[in-house]
Symmetry: C2
Subunit: 525 residues, 2 copies
């Protein structure tokens, strides 16, 4: 890497030293990810204590690297070198922008890391692994009490972490920053409140529809796996840089600049669970694959990372809901399902089955209409657990009460209630809203994408559906790559949305999208 | 951990500090093993460069830990503390022995590590991963030239490593020490020369037999996997601490005190390949599971490690050949094979099929009679490559010439010739003899085991076969646990064999075993 100086080139030593340091940090971080992947896809259960110790050791080392005086010095030197080069007018504008943003983010991240007590970092890593282990046991036997002490411990540690970070934000806001930079509870309310009102109304409308029972069937595991393979093949999966496995909770993870992995799961009685989870995680993976890491340039730098989990979710939800649950997609795929024994005789059958619109207890299996309500409940509960005085003991009761209120359903047990998600078991608080933000962002981006496609000459009423019908998902992906993926952490989520769509983020596009979908689904009766 | 002092207890601080240091080293080492496991079972091929960098980083860190002045100091302090406690007469004899041996081995290993240039350690780690990557490509396309430069590079690095270690041994001997402590080329010749003469004679005798073609059939992959599952279930596999996957080259590896993994592979046209590889790797795994790591006491200490790869192989070969290829085992298992479609109608059919006695080009698929010759060829070649002036270019020709001479066969291409094994691709030289030493050790241990079983009242002519027939492998395993596994690195391989069998290691028991087996196989016609 060199700075060009009026046609000449000079080695920029400080910048390069910093890059090497970041590179090694990323190597360590990706080792951590490999252990996480292994833990969820292969590791025998007896090894969870040892794995927790391994992860704690790595977390300690990583934290030491990310908060060290040496690192601080490297950033300082790189900044001085950068300022000198910029003043000389010898960096082009794009380069100045990129470097300035990288330095800004590095300084921000460093400040956070430096404020954390290394002991807390290490204790948290152990507590996460331990919590995950107990959660798995608790979920298997629907025994919330077996997990509750670990949850209380994790909450205490995370509260302590927020205090150490001492930002001008509430505890929950502080913990949400790594997922949604700059998000506040107030702004979240602004975005979500229209949904708290509208979604139950929409669900109420749908309740009166008579819908066929055609989707009360199942597919065997082998068929489900085969359909997932077909899906990823249609979507041009490159086997040289991707890997698919199964885990209790589907996820997507990056282990290297050419190593993108995802998991799915087969759920008995849910013939689309595996298929839609694959579509969802593939959307995440596409975002990671499209980040500005070409020729690894920013792979180890802040700019090469995802800007927010809301944007991440918008990408997974786009492929899961906007594409895989669309009518033209069903037209293309119904015969593959039929071949595997699904009782569908046309695209319409598959499409209806893929859009059940029946509120249930499970978030991951939820339809688009009720999904948001699952998130509102979790968001409210975790804010209350962390800063509202809600006691861990009361969680199952509170959980069930809110499900009854908002969705009109009651989980038959805690496994299918407050133990269903992995997040809290690993001390992850502040993440859930990203799922719903993802719905809003995906819908708002889709409107802009449709406009772009129209501008490029696709004059059909729904240009996205048209592309899907043509098997031309590549056009959709190209747009996302250019407008979203390639920016990395250059802007935060709301800045990105406003830049791409010309409007501030809101729930309008999402609500419009839902209403249009309901119209279409109802018309078909 | 405390030292008992005349009924009282005193904290032994230095010993504990040393233990904590070793514990962290073992954590790092097991992270390395996890990356290795992942690389062979899941990782997409595009990630091999990044993985090489990760492994190199870990190797550098590990080497720094294992050769640091701080570590040296910890050992010294623990030694002083230990000597004081021993002189006071306050440690029991077993404890004195164990600690003394641990310290002796730690000092020996430290001396080796200190002599190595950290740069070389890191370069070697990268070269190994790179070599492995190229070997996979070369083997897939049978293109030796694509791999040759990497092999030459690895040989150069390993020669340099031996020079840096500057032991009073030849280059090859120095590199063989980690696998077979205290082994010399001279002793190796003593042990192997009788085989160079006898094995071709035995093969020649067998050549005149007329044998049925019953084993010219195959099983589909699903059936093979099912039979492997059944096998491990019969052998009391504990799924809480073990994991099975597939990889191009089967191996067994320990990732934690309760995390034992093994791989197998399905080879088209070789219906027993997967089954016997599973038996083989399970034998390795049982040894690791039986090492003195109960309640993790020595898991991070030298005493908790395998004493030599020859002993390791003796354990895998015992379960593969002495058990799974025995007649009574076939009596028990033939119906399972028949159920999966194998054309066997009785135990005798399966037993004949499991013991083909036809020399071929492939080591891993070789029968017991020709296996030793595969090893003699590799051992001779690697000694010549490292210290005899054999050029890398000449390897394929030399390989094929020796196969013609000793086994009477010629590989159809280099994939099935000198590219068939993974070892050299990772710069592993000095390992191959361990396979054959394993045959000798297994046979000699089996004779002692039979004597013990007779002493315990099993009066059948072949007490081991009797136990196998009864489905009582547990008796065999218990004997191995007590006599072999539990000693860890307390003695070297030859000391262990002499202690357990009362005789110095030799090839007699192995040759007797082979002759007896041939007799039995011939009688059945």
């Amino acid at each position: 890497m060199v700075v060009s100086l009026r046609g000449q080139t000079l080695p920029d030593l400080a910048w390069r030293r910093l890059g090497e340091y970041l590179h090694e940090t990323r190597l360590l971080g990706s080792i951590q990810n490999t252990l996480y992947w292994d833990q969820n896809t292969s590791m025998p259960v007896g090894s969870s204590e040892w794995r927790a110790e391994q992860l704690s050791l790595l977390a300690r080392n990583l934290h030491a690297r990310q908060s060290s005086g040496y690192f601080e010095e490297l950033i300082k030197e790189a900044k001085i070198e950068f300022q000198q080069a910029s003043q000389l007018g010898d960096l082009d504008f794009a380069e100045i922008d990129d470097r300035a943003r990288n330095l800004e983010l590095l300084e921000q991240d460093l400040t956070r890391q430096k404020r954390l007590d290394p002991d807390l970092v290490s204790i948290l890593a152990t507590a996460k692994a331990h919590g995950y282990h107990l959660w798995k046991q608790a979920r298997a036997s629907s025994d919330y009490q077996c997990f509750a002490p670990a949850l209380r411990h994790l909450i205490g540690l995370r509260q302590e972490q927020a205090r150490q970070l001492s930002e001008a934000r509430t505890i929950w806001e502080t913990l949400a920053q790594p997922f949604e930079p700059d998000l506040s509870i107030e702004r979240l309310k602004e975005l979500f409140e229209p949904l708290r009102k509208s979604l139950p109304e929409l669900i109420e409308n749908v309740r009166s529809w008579k819908r066929p029972d055609s989707y009360k069937w199942d597919l065997d595991a082998k068929s489900q796996r085969l359909l997932c393979d077909q899906l990823l093949q249609e979507w041009s999966r490159d086997r040289n840089i991707t890997c698919v496995a199964e885990s209790p909770h589907p996820f997507s993870i990056t282990l290297g600049p050419k190593d993108f992995r995802l998991t799915t799961r087969v759920v008995s009685g849910q013939p689309f669970s595996c298929f839609l989870a694959t579509a969802h995680e593939w959307g995440h993976s596409l975002y990671e694959q499209g980040l500005p890491i070409q020729s690894h340039q920013w792979f180890s730098w802040p700019l090469g990372q995802a800007t927010s989990m809301g944007v991440h979710e918008s990408q997974s939800l786009f492929w899961e809901n906007r594409v895989a649950r669309s009518r033209p997609f069903s037209e293309r795929f119904w015969s593959s399902f039929a071949q595997e024994g699904a009782p569908v005789q046309c695209g319409e059958d598959l499409w209806q089955a893929l859009n059940p619109l029946t509120p249930g207890c499970n978030r991951v299996e939820a339809d688009e209409l009720s999904y948001g309500l699952h998130i509102l409940i979790r968001t409210d509960l975790e804010i209350e657990l962390l800063e509202g005085g809600l006691d861990v003991e009361a969680l199952p009761i509170e959980w069930n009460r809110r499900y009854k209120d908002l969705l009109g359903v009651t989980p038959p047990n805690d496994s299918e209630g407050c133990l269903q998600d992995v997040h809290w078991s690993e001390g992850q608080f502040g993440y859930f809203p990203s799922y719903l933000l993802g719905h809003l962002i995906s819908a708002q981006l889709s409107e802009a994408m449709a406009d772009s496609l129209r501008d490029s000459g696709i004059l059909e009423e729904d240009p996205i559906d048209f592309c899907i019908g043509q098997g031309n998902e590549f056009s959709l992906l190209s747009w996302l790559r250019e407008k979203v993926h390639l920016h990395g952490r250059k802007m935060n989520a709301e800045e990105l949305v406003e830049k791409v769509t010309g409007l501030p983020l809101s729930s309008s596009a999402f609500l419009n999208y839902l209403k249009k979908k309901l119209e279409l689904l109802n018309i078909t009766f």
